[in-house]
Amino acid sequence: MKKIYIIEDNTEMLELLSIMLKDINCKLVTFNSAKTALDKLNHEKPDLILCDLLMPEYDGFRFLKEIKQDPNKKDIKVIILSVVADKKIIDDLMQLGADYFLSKPFRVAELLSLIKNSIGVNVNGKVS
């Protein structure tokens, strides 16, 4: 079973994301800070990471850099989710190695099809 990390400091959003992904055939691990996720990454390797960008202390940029510069971790797919809509910032994220960027607000179906494209899992839920 494929493993997906979800990193999001907003508890409500974290909960919503879990609900959105609960029907896909994957193991979900949620973190409310990038730092704790990074600690966990030293022991296991997920297939995909969904990560918020703006978080206190340790933000999405720093996290992405850390992953993509580590040869052991750089093949992990990363989808950045953010309210940021600045093209320059999105370009920077892609430069850093982000696989996808999803701008908030987004349709649930959009997120599900991105996950399917990136790690090829079957999405059981109805996607309209």
Binding site: M13, L54, M55, P56, P105, V108
Partner: protein, 558 residues
């Protein structure tokens, strides 16, 4: 002796005393009846004196003949008896032509008859006369001569002759005439130049006097030597009082520095200086002026004084300041717009994300989920909408405050109740997370205050304290009074505000660097500041990064 007759001889003999004497020797030869000379009868006379007088006369005559001045001798009747060769040379008449003539033959008619009358009256009374004639030569040419005429008297004092000694002074007179003409020409030129200068002076004077800008002239020591009416009007002082005074007579102390400095420069070396400064007018109005000053003088390296003019540029300055203000305002607005867009994209997208996610999920699972689960998502949508509404309210409050639409409207209110009610409400919203303490130190509770404004202020400050503090953090609201001013302190143990952010923290949409990941509009403190000022108070913030923040504000109850 052999021939009869007489003789006469002159000869020189040596006298016994060694000197020569002249002898005139006359004699006759006496004959007998037959005519035979028998003896000589004669006499010898010492004629040395006569001989010497004759010699003298010959010398004098020679002198007269050779003289370079004309000599004319007339008889008592004025008829010419003698003229010397110089006379003939000057007048062109021969000796023969003049003898027996009256000297009137020389009259040119250019001379006034009084001259002659005066001359004759002097001469006939035995005095000599000196004067000038303008006479005519034989060829008609006019000439000038100076004459000295004196009568010659015989032993009895009777006038027998007149002698005139005359000198041709035509050249002299000509030179003199030329000199006179030259002098007259010079005088004319001077007169003309003076008239020109007068016109020029008048022109300059009327220019200086009618020019609406103050003009001044001062000497090398800095004393005013001239000012125009505009200068008098500007400083409200009379010209006669200004002349001989220095700068300190018209300028304020702080206005003198640049004036003195530039004066010193100009007095050292000829030049022009202009600068902007302030001159307080006679009416006490401090006005921006543009001063042009120049040193003047006959020599480049030696200024003799300073002349200056100045222009009132207060209108221009005002306009410049207004333009700068307008530009700043525009810049502020632009910054605000940028900040607003950044805020809006963050703060509106987050609740929108929740709304869209919940709506999508309800659509996907409405036939699988329990009613409770569905209601839960509907509630999320409603909460997000109300959060967005409050965001919009803040923006509207700001725009209303900006347009001066928010009014101070005080009413009799219970301040203690207002505070404790607010504390309870905040405590309820934060659940058990924070420790909220109210320290109400006033003995009175009822004040004439705008409870709406105070609620707005405290609500924002306390919400901030909660939002930016860790769970379990202590939050204190202290209310004290000093004279007629009420002071509030809201203190937390939260994130604090960076020093760099403090100066901008009251700007709309401005947010501290350490809170970008925490939701907020950046409007709260701006709204608070407006409200405090509407209530006649002041606000200040004291903060230490990651230690806590203390906000102090005052209000004036009516």
């Amino acid at each position: 002796m052999n021939t009869p007759g007489s003789y006469s001889l002159n000869y020189k003999l040596k006298h016994k005393n060694g000197k020569f004497i002249y002898i005139e020797d006359n004699g006759i030869v006496l004959t007998d009846l037959r005519g035979k000379p028998v003896r000589i009868l004669g006499s010898m006379r010492d004629v040395t004196l006569k001989k010497l007088a004759e010699d003298e006369l010959r010398k004098l005559s020679h002198a007269v003949e050779q003289s370079q001045v004309s000599v004319v001798i007339t008889n008592k009747e004025g008829l010419i008896e003698y003229v010397n060769p110089k006379f003939c040379e000057v007048t062109g008449y021969t000796y023969e032509e003049t003898i027996g003539q009256n000297p009137r033959i020389l009259k040119s008619g250019e001379w006034k008859s009084e001259t002659y009358t005066g001359m004759w009256s002097d001469l006939s009374s035995g005095k000599s006369w000196t004067g000038i004639f303008h006479n005519k030569k034989k060829n008609g040419e006019l000439f000038w001569e100076s004459a000295h005429i004196s009568p010659i008297k015989d032993f009895s004092g009777e006038i027998t002759h007149y002698i005139a000694v005359k000198e041709d002074i035509t050249e002299k007179v000509k030179n003199e005439e030329q000199l006179i003409r030259y002098r007259e020409h010079l005088e004319e030129m001077v007169e003309e130049r003076t008239a020109q200068l007068n016109t020029q002076n008048e022109f300059l004077r009327s220019l200086i006097d009618t020019i609406p800008n103050p003009i001044f002239v001062k000497d090398i020591q800095g004393y005013y030597t001239d000012v125009n009416p505009a200068f008098e009007r500007y400083f409200g002082k009379k010209k006669e009082d200004l002349i001989g005074k220095k700068l300190d007579f018209v300028l304020e102390k702080e206005e003198m520095e640049i004036a003195l400095e530039t004066d010193a420069q100009l007095m050292k070396k000829r030049g022009i200086i202009n600068y902007e400064t302030y001159f307080t007018s006679g009416e006490g109005k401090k006005m921006a002026v543009l001063v042009y000053k120049a040193s003047f003088g006959a020599r480049d390296d030696k200024p003799e004084g300073i002349v200056g003019i100045f222009f009132d540029i207060s209108m221009r300055k005002e306009l410049e300041e207004k333009t700068i203000q307008a530009l700043n305002k525009e810049k502020e607005l632009n910054e605000m717009k940028t900040n607003f867009i950044a805020m809006a994209s963050h703060e509106f997208r987050t609740p929108l994300t929740t709304i869209l996610a919940s709506a999508d999920l309800v659509e996907m699972y409405y036939n699988k989920w329990s009613a409770e689960k569905i209601i839960n998502h509907v509630k999320k949508i409603q909460d997000s909408v109300s959060y967005m509404t409050s965001l919009l309210d803040d923006v509207l409050t700001l725009s209303r405050a900006d347009r001066g639409k928010i009014k101070f409207s005080p009413s009799i209110s219970n301040l203690r109740e207002l505070c404790s009610h607010l504390m309870n409400e905040i405590q309820y919203q934060t659940l058990p997370g924070h420790d909220l303490i109210l320290d109400y130190k006033l003995k009175d509770e009822i004040f004439n205050i705008d409870s709406k404004l105070i609620t707005q202020i405290l609500n924002n400050l306390l919400s901030n304290a909660v939002k930016f503090s860790p769970e379990g953090g202590k939050i204190l609201l202290e209310v004290t009074q000093k004279d007629d001013i009420i002071q509030f302190i809201v203190m937390d143990e939260g994130l604090g505000i960076d020093n760099n952010d403090l100066k901008n923290i009251f700007e709309p949409f401005y947010r501290g660097n350490n809170v970008t990941a925490i939701h907020g509009t950046g409007l709260g403190l701006n709204i608070v500041k407006n409200a405090v000022e509407l209530h006649g108070g002041e606000i200040s913030i004291d903060s230490k990064l990651y230690k806590g923040t203390k906000v102090t504000f005052t209000i004036k109850p009516l």
